[in-house]
């Protein structure tokens, strides 16, 4: 049994990736100590650095239930929570992370808000507020609203405009979007000030933002190093490495860590060391991985020389803000708004160029596929995360039509391992290899340069 479990989690090709799990545990432990010390704690959705950075600057420790969902899934302890949420009337079709969290919180409440002794990773303590987010999916505010059933704490919803690719370029629209976000962030600061009975520490915020931008600059530089052939890292490395830059980018320890990540990847690129010996195919993965069975990717690499060279748009840092947008902005809230908005809309040019929407989850891949010289896309439609699944079929149509890049569809889930059939997934991959060969030829004939 233990043997089997080991095999299923990924070996990872980077030393730094093997160390990255520390950050998730640190985040959880910090919130627990904060509660013991009488400090406020919040639960947040991934909100692309909009609100958690602000809350942390006000002395609140933040933890992310989505990340906790992945943690429970990876350690295969989510099932009991899923069942427990369903038995309280939540439909089984809801997001797996959400059901994990709803089940966990129901247990927490029934235990008088003392974390159950067997809670995965030491557990998340009761929060003082919930920070929901309007970006990417409905679950990311409906789920927190639904937690009112167990928690009775206020929910703040951070707005996040999402524009169409043509609308992005309507005169003045982008600035309207940003003005809206800044206004909302100001209201969020007031909400926190009245909840916590303390004033915003603007200097602390500026300091955190400075670290965040430095960390992200390194994370982006690592992404660009991955353009190299052979690929110096795998998607499985990235999924571990993204935890610190997504959840703790404003922490000096993360910044130092990313310095090491950069050095390690750079060394491999400089010395032409591939993550996969004899790399033969470069694949891309969309969108959220099967956390419970990451070892699958190692096996695919071993069997076919497939390097998963890039992946998961929504977990990546955006390209740096264009200089013109960053310089001269004195208001940290505006800087945050511009940056998060940029994360969601950096694909707008590609969207218009190829006549494809949405900008999120789709348009950025039109650039990745060319930049990373991708031979094939692996789509992972999820049973319980629809937003990351809605556009996968669309994406594969577009990649095939515009770039002659084929895709393979392997169904599964982020949390529920019962729906991931590993043998079938391998059979599909085995058959897909020839398809990639065939399309390579097609691309050559059409004058596409990879």
């Amino acid at each position: 049994m233990e043997e089997k479990k080991k095999k299923r989690s990924s070996a990872k090709t980077l030393q730094t990736a093997r160390e990255a799990g520390y950050f998730g545990k640190k985040m959880l432990a910090r919130t627990r100590s904060a509660v013991e010390a009488g400090q406020p704690v919040g639960w947040a959705m991934v909100e692309w650095w909009l609100g958690a950075t602000i809350a942390k600057a006000m002395g609140v420790e933040m933890v992310f239930p989505e990340n906790y969902g992945a943690f429970c899934a990876a350690s295969r302890t989510a099932e009991a929570n899923l069942d427990y949420s369903e038995s309280d009337g939540f439909p089984s079709t809801l997001c797996g992370y959400a059901r994990n969290c709803l089940g966990y919180t129901r247990r927490l409440k029934e235990n008088g808000f003392v974390i159950p002794a067997d809670a995965t990773g030491g557990g998340m303590p009761k929060p003082d507020f919930l920070l929901a987010c309007g970006a990417a999916c409905d679950a990311r505010y409906k789920w927190f609203q639904a937690l009112g059933r167990y928690l009775d704490v206020p929910v703040w919803l951070l707005e996040f405009p999402q524009t169409g690719s043509r609308e992005y370029f309507l005169p003045g629209n982008k600035e309207e979007n940003i003005r809206f976000m800044v206004g909302e962030l100001r209201s969020f600061v007031s909400f926190l000030e009245s909840l916590l009975g303390r004033k915003m520490d603007w200097d602390a915020l500026a300091e955190r933002l400075d670290i965040l931008f430095k960390t992200h600059a390194l994370a982006h530089a690592v992404d660009r190093l991955r353009l190299a052939v052979p690929s110096p890292a795998m998607s499985t490395d990235f999924w571990a490495l993204m935890i610190p830059h997504l959840y703790l980018p404003d922490d000096p320890e993360t910044l130092a860590f990313y310095g090491r990540v950069y050095d390690e990847v750079k060394y491999k690129v400089d010395h032409n060391i591939g993550a996969v010996p004899n790399e033969r195919y470069r694949m891309m993965f969309a969108e959220l991985p099967p956390w419970h069975t990451l070892g699958f990717f190692d096996e695919v690499a071993e069997r076919h020389g497939v390097a998963f060279a890039f992946e998961s748009w929504n977990y990546h840092v955006p390209p740096p803000l264009p200089a013109g947008e960053k310089e001269g902005i004195g208001d940290p809230l505006e800087l945050i708004a511009r940056y998060s908005y940029h994360k969601f809309h950096h694909g707008a040019d590609a969207g218009v160029k190829y006549g494809v929407d949405p900008i999120i989850f789709t348009a950025p891949y039109l650039e990745y596929v060319q930049d990373y010289r991708i031979d094939g896309l692996m789509c992972h439609p999820l049973v319980s995360c629809r937003p990351a699944t809605y556009t996968l079929m669309h994406l594969r149509n577009v990649l095939l039509e515009k770039f002659k890049v084929p895709s393979v569809v392997v169904e599964g889930d982020i949390v529920d391992m019962r729906v991931f059939n590993e043998e079938e997934a391998h059979a599909k991959m085995d058959a897909f290899i020839e398809t990639m060969d065939y399309h390579r030829e097609l691309r050559r004939k059409e004058g596409l340069n990879w």
């Binding site: 939540f90 809801l94 319980s384």
Partner: protein, 385 residues
């Protein structure tokens, strides 16, 4: 042959809404298709379009859209795109997508990536009715107006928008009057008939629609229903219902649909647009703040009890005014907006002493048969009560 009037006319339009659209085209009308109840039809109408709500078809299996959308998403929107890709909406002259829910948002994007129309807009819709959100939404409506003007080559005056607002306000008031007629027992008009009227109104030029409801009201008022068997009165809440197969099934099972809280019903026809110097402000307020749909987040307040009141108090008045005996929570599979609501909504309604039946369905007439026993059992429980 004289054209049908009132309920028969509504039933006729309901039965073949594409024919109704083609007839409008033949008369020289331009048609703007749009999703959901968050697109202000007043603006489309002021620009010279007949607004037409894009709906799916529960009776038609999804085939073409399978290549474009995964199976684990809202089957209503899968059906809409399926019809679009099959060319059923080819007569549209404009398309307005909207960020009402994930399904609406992503299908708006996929739709416009494959189906081209002379005029296209995507209306971003905030998730809250915060002050900043209302200002932002008003600006978005300004962009919609500008895109419509650019397409038609003529300015839309404030007066033209106000005129449409007053016509649509009239329509909403008329529909509410029709709804009120159902407060008596037995109601003189069935849930199925009201649904046919609502669907017909979503396809018609506003003035024609207003005449239709006036005729329907007169017809319903003139009805003299004789003694009828006592049946439990039902409020239908949740995901939209655009097919009489569902209301028909419910009514066959011994229940009467007397009120609804859905997107082709009270969410569309409740609340007027207030007159404001800039009509876009009145529109923004009505569409974003006044429509109560769980897709818009309401502030949680100081406690869970306050939160529940802010979200559901309107249902309490529906229950009182329409003398509701039970509530059917209609959930289309994979709908997050309504799915997350189920336990709290049930808790709230049962707290009011009203029994609740929550059913997850697949937006397919073929899949309705197994629901019959559930509705029958629900009707029986209420009889015992």
């Amino acid at each position: 042959m004289a054209e049908e009037k009132g309920l028969r006319r509504a039933a006729e339009i309901y039965a073949d809404r594409f024919r109704a659209a083609r007839e409008l085209k033949e008369k020289g009308h331009k048609i703007a298709g749009y999703f959901c109840c968050y697109v202000p039809v007043e603006l489309l109408s002021a620009a010279g379009f007949v607004p037409m709500r894009i709906l799916g078809d529960m009776g038609e299996p999804v085939t073409v859209a399978d290549t474009y959308l995964p199976t684990m998403m809202c089957p209503f929107f899968r059906s809409c795109l399926d019809l679009g890709l099959k060319g059923r909406y080819d007569f549209l002259d404009a398309f307005v997508g909207v960020h009402a829910c994930d399904g609406a948002e992503r299908v708006s994007a996929v739709w416009r990536s494959y189906l081209q129309y002379p005029c296209v807009f995507y209306l971003d819709t905030p998730h809250t009715a915060h002050d900043h959100a209302l200002v932002f939404f008003q600006k978005q409506l300004g962009y919609l107006q500008a895109v419509l003007e650019e397409h038609t080559g003529r300015k839309i005056s404030g007066a033209a928008v106000k005129e449409q607002i007053s016509l649509y306000n009239r329509q909403r008031r008329l529909v509410r009057e029709l709804y009120k007629l159902r407060q008596v027992d037995p109601p003189p008009v069935s849930g199925t008939e009201v649904l046919q009227v609502a669907v017909a109104l979503l396809q018609l030029p506003v003035q024609e629609g207003n005449r239709l409801v006036e005729d329907v009201i007169a017809e319903v008022k003139a009805r003299r229903p004789g003694p009828a068997p006592k049946k439990s009165r039902l409020l239908v809440s949740g995901c939209l219902i655009d097919n009489i197969a569902i209301t028909g099934l419910i009514e066959e099972c011994g229940l009467r649909v007397v009120m609804d809280d859905t997107a082709i019903g009270s969410r569309t026809f409740g609340h007027d647009v207030e007159p404001t110097p800039d009509p876009l402000k009145g529109l923004a307020d009505r569409y974003l703040a006044k429509i109560v749909c769980p897709r818009t987040f309401r502030e949680t307040g100081k406690s869970r009890a306050e939160d529940l009141e802010q979200r559901y108090a309107y249902l309490k008045s529906f229950i009182q005014d329409w003398k509701v005996d039970g509530v059917y929570l209609n959930l289309i599979r994979n709908c997050d907006i309504h799915g997350y609501e189920i336990p709290e909504l049930k808790h709230y309604l049962e707290g009011l002493g009203v029994p609740v039946l929550a059913v997850e369905q697949d937006y397919s007439t073929a899949g309705l048969a197994p629901l019959r026993t559930r509705f029958q059992a629900f009707a029986e429980t209420m009889e015992i009560d």
